[in-house]
Symmetry: D2
C-alpha cells in the first residue's frame, strides 16, 4: 500500500483527493492537514466521507509528513506550495504532486504571470499524461506540477492539431463550474449572482493562458497565437472548452476526427462524444469527452472538450500522475463513470 | 409626488424598493442611504437600475432624511431600525415603513424571541393588507411594521380557515429562495452548497414563528398549535408555503376553496391557481397565488401559497402599505405580472 | 461472477444499475434490454459509460434472459414488470429484483391504489434492508420488490420511532429531484418550469403513501395516521424527507437521537448529519443521512432524511438487496462516497 | 389606444408580448389567437397574467384580426408567418410585426438557409432600432421583420466597430437561456440534461448566422469573416454574446469604449457595465448591457453583450419597433428594470 498524505485537505481539491483515494485499492491516506480545522475528523468536515475515514485533520509540518507518507499531494493555494516544497524535497524519497500553480511554469514566466518572486524554484515535471507520454514509471524526479484545470481542458482540445503542426490561431472560450473558485464564499459564488447567469471574467489575460501557450507551443514549436476567455456557468463542476481553431489547411470534420482518434489512440481517459460532449457525462469522473465540427465555409474548426474541473482538472489527474510515476496501472482507482 | 427615502439601499430589499418605485407614478425617490457605499451612484451598485436613477447613495442621518422625505422605508437588519425610529418620529410628519423585525411583535415577545433588549419601543401597526382591512387611509399612526416574508406567506395560506375558526393544528413547511438570507456571501449562499440541494434549517424554532402565532391567533382567538420548518431551495426568489392543516370539521376541497374565495374576495393581489401555485408565476410581482386540496381520508387539508419573498414578502408589501396609508390606490405602481 | 441482466436499460434506473455494476467486483452484466434502442451500444445511449461497456442493447424475451443471467433487474414502468415476472419465475433459478411498483403491495391494495387489475400476482419480499433484517442470504424466495424512492426516504426517517411504538401522527413533506419522473420530457421536466421553482403535486393522495403505511404500520401495529405531500425541487437527484412527527410522549432531541442511533447501529449505509443532512453529501451514493430536532414546546419532532432517489431510492438499494440474497457482503460494489 | 393582436399567444414570445403590453399605457390587446388552446382564458394558460386579462384565446383568421387590430404581432414558428402575411397585407392598414424568421432575409438567402421555398415574399424592414435609425415614425411600409435573438445580441456587440470599418474577423460565442427553444418539452429542455451543464449545438452552421452577416456587412461593406457558435446554458432567459474580434488596428480598451459610447449615444436601451455585463441585470427588461476589453498583446478585443432573449431578443424589441413606427415614444411601456 502506498501511504498518501494531503496537505490542505479542507478545500475542494483536498476533498476530491480524499473521495477518490477512498476507493483506490493501492493507497491508504495516512495524513490530511489543515490549520483551521485541525482536530476535527475528516468526515465531520466533508460529510460525504462519513463511513469512509476515521482520520483526524492535523496541523502537520513537512517533516512530520515525510515520515508517514510515500506520496504527498499539495492541495494548497498558489504561493503556499513553494513554502513547503523545499523541506519536502530535502532528504527522503517521498514523491510530491503539487496541485497549485507554483511549479507549472519556468521561474521567469511564473514571476511575470503571478506578479511575485518565486521563493523556491525546483525541477518539476508538468504532466497531462495524454500529451506527456515521456513521463512513465521510470520518472526520476520527485516533483510533479499538476496542470491547471483550464489548461487541461484547452490542451486536450487542441493537442492533436498542434502535434500535426496545423494550428494558425486558437481562441479558447471556456465555461467552468464555480468550484474552480474554491470553497470560500465570495460575491461570485453567491448563489443569486450565478444562478440563471453566466459570468465572463479576465477576458484577455487570465493566468492560465501561460500554461496553454507553454503546452501547445511545445507540440507545435513557435505557435503562440492563442487567446483565452473564461466564463463561470451555473454549475458546481465541469469545464466545457470551446476551441475556435483556424487551421493552416482546410479540413473536413472527418479529417479532424481522424487526427484526434489517432493522437489519442490507447488513452483510456479520452472518449469521443456521439455528437457534442456533455459535462454530465464526465461529472465526478477522470474522463475527457471530445467532439468537433469543421466549418464547411472556411479553414475553421470548432473542437469541444468536457472535463470535471475537480477530477481530470485537478485531483483525478493528480492521482493518474501518481499511478504513473509509482508504477501502478494508470487507471487504478480512477475507473468510475460520470454521474449523470 | 410623494418623496420617498430608503435607509439601507444596498441590500436586496433596498434594491427592490428602488426597482419598484422606479415605475411608481406617484413617488419620487429623493434619498437612498448607505454607509459602505456612500458616494457611489445607485445605478453603479445596482446595475439593473442603469438608466433609471441618477441618485447618489449618501450616509444621511435621520434628521436629514426627515427634511427631504414624506415616507421613509427602513431596509435595514433587525436591531438597526430601533436605532433610528425614535429620531424619525420626533417632530415632523413623515411616515415610516419598517421592513425589519423591530416593531412586529409586542416588546416582551420581541425580547424573548430575538434575545435582546428592545431599545426604543414605539406604537406600530403590523399590516398584511389582505388580513388587516382596518388599516386604511385614515390610519393615524406614523409607523408601519412590515411583516416578515415567511409570516406573509404562512398567514395568507391559513387566514381564511383561521377567520372561520376551523383550525385544529397547522404545520407550515416553507421553502424559500436564498435572497431572504441577504446579499452577504455565506456558506449557505455559496453556490455549490445550494444548487441541486435543499437546506432545512431552524427546524422547530425559527423567529418568524412568533409572527405567525400572533396573526393567526388574532383571527382564531386562542389557537396557537402552530409549527414551522423553513427550507432554502435552489432559487433566488420566492416562498412556497405548504400548510398542513388539521381542521375541526371534515371539509371537501370545494368547501375550502369557497372559504378562501369569500375571504379574499376583492383583494387584488390574491389569485387562485388552476391547480397548484408556482413561484414562477409570482416572480418579481406583488401577487400571492393560492391552491389547496382536502384529504379525502380525514380532516386534513393542504394549502399552498406562493409569493416573491422580496416583493409581497418585503418591498412590494411595503409599497402596498404606503399606498394604503397615503391614500393612493392600493395597487398603484404594483400592477406588473410575474416573470416566468 | 454473478451474471446480471437488466430489463429496461435505457431509463434512469437502468443507467444507474449499469453505472454501479460497472464497478461491482462480483458482477458481470451479461444482458441489457431495450425495445426502442435495440441494436445500439449501451455506451452510445448512456455516454457516461463510454469506456466501461462493450455491450449492445437487445430486445430479449424473458426466456433468453433466464439462460444468461443469475440475477435479473426489472427497471421498467409500473405494469410492465407483471408482464414478464411469471415467465421469469417459471423454471430456472434466477433471482428477480423488481424496481417497479408491481409487487410492493398486497394485490388488493395494489389494485385499489393503482386502479387496475393485477395480472400476475406472485410472492415477493419488500425489502429496505435497514428495516427488514429478516431477509438474509437464506432468503428462499426468488422475487424482491424493491421499494419506492419516497417510501425509502420516509420509512428510514420514521422507522426507529415506529419500532419504539411512539408515533401519534406523521406528515411526510418530501422534496425530490426530477429524475424520479423519468427521462421522457414532459411539462414538469421542462427546464423553465422547474428552475428557481418548486412544484408540489398529488398533495394528499400520492400512490407511494400506501407503501409508507404498510411499512410503518408493520413496525408500529395499528398506526396509520400518516400524510404525505411530495414536491419536485430544481435538482436532478435526491430526496429530502421532512418528517413532521407527533409523538406519544415528550422527547428531547437527545432522546430521539439515541433511539435512532440504537435502531440503526451496525447499518453501514445510515449516517448521522452533524446538523442537518444534505442531498449533496449522498449524491450518487447509497447512503442515507439523517438529522433531527425535537420541538421544546410540545410533543413534536422534525426528522430529516436525505437519500439519492436513483441510488438508495432505486438502483443502489436493488444492488444492496442482490448482495444480501446472493450471500455477498451487503456493501460490495456500493462503497463510494457522495459527490459534492 | 392602439388595438393590438397577437397571433400565436401561447408560446413564450406570445406570453411576453402579453406581459409587457399589460403595462403599456397606449395599447390595448384586443385579440390573442391559439389553435390548441382556443376557448381558454389567456390567464388560465399564462397564470402569471391572472388579474391582468379577461381575454379568451380564439382561433381567429387573418381577416377577423384585421378588423379588430391596428397592429398585429406574429409570434409563430418559422414558416407559419408567411401563411398569413399576404392576407394581413391585403387591404386595410394594420401594421404587422413578425417575430418569426420568414421576412428577415432576402428570399434567395432565406431559401438557402431554411432549406425550403418561400411561399409569400413581401417587402419588410429588418429593424434593430439602435442600428437602423432610418426607421422612424415616417416608415411607409406595413411589415417589420423583427430580428432573431442571437443576431440582436451579436449585432449590438459588433456594430460600432463594424460602422467604423475596423473588423478583421469576428467569432460570436453565444450563450443562451433555454426559452429560446420554445415551450415544447424536448430532450434538450429536459431538466436533468441541462442543469449544471452547458450544451453547445450547431457549432458552425446555425441559421442565425445569415442575419449576423447581413447586418454587419451592411455596416462594414464587404466584411463577412464571421463565425458563430451557440450554447445553451442552465438559464431560462438571457443571451450573453462573447464576441472575439480581431481588428484592423491595435486598439486599447479605452479606444474601444469610446467608439461604443459614441455609436450608442442617446440610445435609451444601451447601457455600459461597470466591468462585465450580467444577464441578471437585464432579466425581463428591454436593455442591452455591454462591456469590453482589448488584449494588450495583439489586435484582439473581447466585447460582451447581455440581453434577455425574450425581451430585447424578441417581444420587447417588437414593441420598441411598434412604438417607433406608430409614432409613440420609443421607450413607452418598456421602461422597467431587470429583475435581479
Amino acid at each position: 500500500m502506498i501511504k498518501a498524505g494531503i496537505i490542505g485537505a479542507t478545500g475542494y481539491t483536498g476533498e476530491e483527493l480524499l473521495r477518490i483515494l477512498a476507493g483506490h485499492p493501492s493507497v491508504e491516506v495516512t495524513a490530511a492537514t489543515s490549520r483551521a480545522a485541525a482536530g476535527k475528523k475528516v468526515s465531520s468536515v466533508h460529510e460525504n466521507l462519513k463511513g469512509f475515514y476515521d482520520l483526524t485533520l492535523e496541523n502537520l509540518n513537512p517533516d512530520d509528513m515525510k515520515k508517514i507518507c510515500d506520496v504527498i499531494f499539495l492541495a494548497v493555494p498558489h504561493g503556499a506550495a513553494m513554502e513547503v516544497v523545499p523541506e519536502l524535497l530535502k532528504d527522503g524519497t517521498c514523491k510530491i504532486i503539487d496541485l497549485s500553480a507554483d511549479y507549472r511554469l519556468p521561474v521567469s514566466v511564473f514571476e511575470k504571470v503571478y506578479g511575485s518572486k518565486h521563493k523556491a524554484p525546483a525541477d518539476a515535471a508538468y504532466v497531462i499524461p495524454e500529451v506527456h507520454p515521456e513521463i512513465t514509471k521510470d520518472f526520476k524526479g520527485r516533483l510533479i506540477a499538476n496542470p491547471g484545470c483550464f489548461p487541461t481542458g484547452a490542451t486536450l482540445a487542441a493537442a492533436p492539431l498542434a502535434a500535426a503542426g496545423l494550428l494558425k490561431s486558437v481562441i479558447f472560450d471556456s465555461k467552468t463550474g464555480i468550484t474552480g473558485a474554491g470553497n470560500t464564499p465570495t460575491e461570485t459564488t453567491h448563489y443569486p449572482n450565478l444562478t440563471e447567469n453566466i459570468i465572463p471574467y479576465k477576458l484577455t489575460a487570465h493566468r492560465h493562458l501561460a500554461e496553454m501557450v507553454q503546452e501547445i507551443s511545445r507540440l507545435q514549436p513557435g505557435f503562440e497565437n492563442i487567446s483565452f476567455t473564461p466564463h463561470v456557468i451555473p454549475a458546481s463542476r465541469g469545464i466545457m472548452t470551446t476551441a475556435h481553431i483556424e487551421t493552416k489547411e482546410k479540413l473536413t470534420t472527418a479529417d479532424v476526427k481522424k487526427i484526434y482518434e489517432e493522437y489519442y489512440a490507447g488513452k483510456p481517459f479520452i472518449q469521443f462524444a456521439e455528437t457534442v460532449p456533455s459535462l454530465a457525462n464526465v461529472r465526478g469522473s477522470n474522463y475527457c469527452h471530445i467532439g468537433m465540427e469543421a466549418d464547411a465555409r472556411n479553414n475553421r474548426v470548432v473542437v469541444l472538450s468536457a472535463i470535471d474541473n475537480l477530477v481530470k482538472g485537478a485531483a483525478g489527474q493528480a492521482i493518474q500522475n501518481m499511478n504513473i510515476i509509482c508504477g501502478l496501472k494508470e487507471t487504478e482507482g480512477l475507473r468510475f463513470p460520470g454521474l449523470i
